[in-house]
């Protein structure tokens, strides 16, 4: 590989350096906020090199991982690598990891092919265009594999030092799976961009990643979510599967066997990755030669529908703000998926509580309070803190207080609308408990909204996942608000059903006190706004 300037090696080094900077920047639009441009935050804005402290921290973590790996490798020396149970477990982990790899590789593909805007420069240079796409694909694969190698390579190193060679399979195994996922991601990206455009493809990738994460959490809770007989049936099915002849030779287990260091599967997997890599690089080149880039970057204009509804003005300022906030949320599938997916993570907890029939109403009370508080906090942050055009509001004569109250209402109303049906059902079936839970839900929603109203600091919608880093105090208050109302929901619903234990009364009193303290603290710490 030619490492001289203009050679493939040189280009690969450049590509890896960009990937390294990109990994450090992480968040979109993390840089200085420019009024009005938040919605179109281009990838690359605010990117910076990793700081020395971050590098030192990562190295320290890596050293600690080596210690952990050393102990693990030592303790598993006697475990046979071809045990079907081990193979199945590793295969499940590979499948989960591959889903995340696919998601991040699609995002990287969209970035390097359509958003970095340097392809024209490279393609106009004397570098062979095939090499450019091969290097770009290699860069995507490298950035995809890097995080997994960071966590898994210490096991390979420990295996090498302890003479357990099978652990060395981690390197070719992880790299091959990353290459295969990157190739699939690149091809998917090319197809999706043609149909959806670059921006929506990116959203698809993010939704895949978020769904994979949520499903993983739910899958990890399957055991506790299932009833006793279901658990027994699942164990039986797994046992049957493991007892079948030749289960270890199933081709689906090939990546697992490669990672566990079996030479032939390792060779087959690496060979397959190499072939797919070459074919994908060629395919990508052909797509671009056919003008895909221009097609993707062209403004997608849609002719006005023939019978388009005439837009009628006529809303008050309050209503206009509420409707605007709802439109901005509903039309942003990525944001919406992130808001809703955080609820998915709470569902296992809710089901676990709901499984016990003796505490069902209490579980509903606590679960609804937690869900509503969390959802309101998220929506309130989007509406109040992540305003796309703050300067527009500031230069207008509109009362900031009215605008902010409308935004708070925009965050609260959908949550109450969503829980209205279950609350109504509950109130009809168990009026006293239903009423108590209604009060608790309203309290949780109002508390979560007011905390953001008082303590929220400006952020970017594109940084929804990182909103926690922007305000430690607000996040603590939100968490304690959820806990307080959750405890109140549990306690009050229980109290309406009959005699309550001392612990139950303690929960009610403690929850009430905490809810008041949280709101009081939020009010005292409120951000002064001019």
């Amino acid at each position: 590989m030619n490492a001289a300037p203009g050679g493939v090696g040189w280009l690969l080094r450049h590509e890896l350096r960009l990937a390294w900077f990109n990994a450090a920047g992480g968040k979109e639009g993390a840089g200085k906020r420019r009024p009005g441009n938040a919605a179109g935050g281009k990838e690359g804005a605010g990117k910076r090199r990793p700081g020395n402290a971050a590098i030192a921290l990562a190295l320290a973590g890596w050293a600690a991982l080596h210690l952990l790996a050393w102990v693990t490798v030592e303790n598993t020396a006697a475990v046979a690598g071809d045990d079907p149970r081990i193979l199945l477990a590793i295969a499940a982990m590979v499948a989960a990891g591959a889903t995340f790899m696919l998601s991040s590789a699609i995002k990287s593909s969209v970035l390097v092919l359509f958003e970095r805007s340097d392809l024209d420069l490279l393609l106009s240079s004397p570098l062979p265009s095939h090499s450019i796409f091969a290097v770009r694909l290699a860069g995507v694969a490298a950035s995809t594999a890097a995080i997994y190698l960071f966590f898994l390579a210490p096991f390979a190193h420990a295996g090498l030092l302890q003479g357990q060679w099978r652990w060395l399979g981690i390197y070719p195994g992880v790299i091959s799976v990353a290459v295969l996922c990157s190739c699939l991601a690149m091809l998917l990206t090319l197809g999706l961009v043609r149909v959806l455009g670059a921006r929506r493809t990116r959203v698809v990738a993010q939704v895949i990643g978020a769904l994979a994460g949520a499903l993983l959490v739910i899958a990890s809770q399957l055991q506790s979510l299932s009833s006793g007989p279901t658990q027994g049936r699942m164990r039986e099915m797994l046992g049957d599967l493991l007892r079948q002849d030749g289960v270890a030779d199933n081709p689906l287990l090939l990546p697992a066997r490669a990672i566990l260091g079996e030479p032939l599967p390792m060779l087959l997997l690496a060979g397959a990755a190499a072939v797919v890599f070459v074919l994908t690089a060629r395919r990508t080149h052909r797509f671009f030669a056919q003008g895909l880039q221009l097609a993707a970057s062209a403004t997608r204009t849609r002719a006005a529908p023939a019978a388009a509804r005439r837009h009628r003005f006529g809303r008050s300022l309050f209503k206009a703000v509420v409707v605007k906030e709802w439109r901005l949320i509903v039309r942003d599938p990525h944001l919406l998926s992130q808001v809703l997916l955080q609820l998915l993570f709470l569902l296992p907890l809710f089901f676990i509580m709901f499984k016990r029939s003796d505490v069902q109403v209490q579980a509903v009370g606590a679960g609804l309070a937690l869900l509503c508080s969390s959802l309101t906090g998220a929506l309130a942050w989007v509406a109040l803190s992540a305003e796309d055009a703050p300067d527009l509001l500031l230069v207008s004569p509109a009362s900031l207080r009215t605008v902010r109250r409308a935004k708070l209402a925009a965050a609260i109303m959908p949550v109450l609308a969503v829980v209205a049906a279950p609350l109504l059902w509950l109130s009809v079936r168990m009026p006293a408990a239903g009423l108590a839970i209604c009060i608790v839900v309203c309290g949780a929603v109002a508390g979560a909204g007011l905390i953001v109203f008082w303590c929220g600091r400006p952020g970017l919608r594109s940084n929804f996942k990182g909103r926690g880093k922007g305000g430690f105090v607000m996040n603590m208050l939100e968490m304690f608000n959820s806990l307080a109302w959750g405890a109140l929901g549990w306690g009050l619903a229980g109290a309406m059903r009959g005699a309550l234990s001392n612990e139950g009364w303690l929960g009610i009193l403690g929850g009430s006190a905490l809810a008041v303290i949280v709101l009081g603290t939020g009010w005292l710490l409120r951000v002064k706004r001019s």
Partner: protein
């Protein structure tokens, strides 16, 4: 309200960001005037406009908009002005009419008047065919034109624009310029900053040049020429802003 009072009066305006960005600026813009504020990069033009629109609070000095003290009655002053920054203040997930309805709501414009004005502006700026598209897919020029429509939807008396023609193609730039001239012809006031000196030369009735936050020259193009014995506005500008 006294209509003889200037559209904008700045006196001893000061804003410091570690170093003075605006340093004792005094300026008067008359009603119905097209005024261009010029200066090299970092001269304090944008800071001045952000102070005038209430986005920044001055460290010292006073700002009077159409006879209203901005510090004393900000809402009354803001109701009569519009600001178009260099980066359009838009929402990518809104369609043009939805955006204009929201802006009209912020300025408290009556619904029927706002709707008619929005249709007129979108037609004038050739944005009606795109009325059913989200603005996130718009080109830079279309975004700038929509932002201008937003600035004009409440029919402001004083229009303040920061580099309004940057990135526009010739046709879009012509549309924007025509709209600004029409605004002045109707009795409105326009204050704009630009690096395109030909724009100031052709449109502005008076030109103010600032450097290091201070007004160093002001007058009509002829007055500035006479002062420097220069030729074009570019010559005048370069002479006046040359570092001593």
């Amino acid at each position: 309200m006294d209509d003889t009072r200037p559209a904008l009066r700045l006196a001893g305006l000061r804003k410091d960001f570690g170093r003075p960005a605006v340093d004792g600026l005094g300026l008067v813009v008359r009603r119905g005037e097209f005024y261009a504020l010029l200066g090299p990069n970092g001269a304090g033009k944008t800071t001045t406009l952000r102070l005038v629109t209430g986005l920044l609070a001055p460290d010292a000095g006073s700002i009077e908009v159409l006879g209203i003290d901005l510090a004393g009655a900000p809402a009354a002053a803001k109701a009569r002005i519009a600001y178009l920054p260099d980066e359009p203040m838009l929402y990518g997930k809104l369609k043009p009419f939805e955006y204009l309805e929201f802006v009209a709501g912020l300025w408290g414009v009556r619904a029927d008047a706002a709707e008619a004005r929005a249709r007129e502006l979108l037609d004038w700026l050739d944005l009606s065919p795109h009325a059913h598209e989200l603005t996130e897919g718009f080109s830079r020029g279309m975004k700038q034109k929509l932002a201008l429509a937003g600035a004009l939807v409440h029919d402001p008396e004083l229009l303040i624009l920061d580099e309004p023609l940057t990135g526009l193609d010739a046709a879009a730039a012509r549309q924007v310029k025509d709209l600004l001239l029409a605004h002045v012809a109707k009795g409105g006031t326009v204050i704009l900053t630009t690096h395109i000196l030909e724009v100031a030369e052709r449109l502005a009735q008076r030109i103010g040049i600032i450097r290091q936050g201070r007004l160093i020259a002001e007058g009509t193009l002829e007055e500035l020429r006479a002062r420097t014995r220069g030729g074009s506005l570019e010559d005048v500008f370069l002479q006046l802003t040359a570092t001593p």
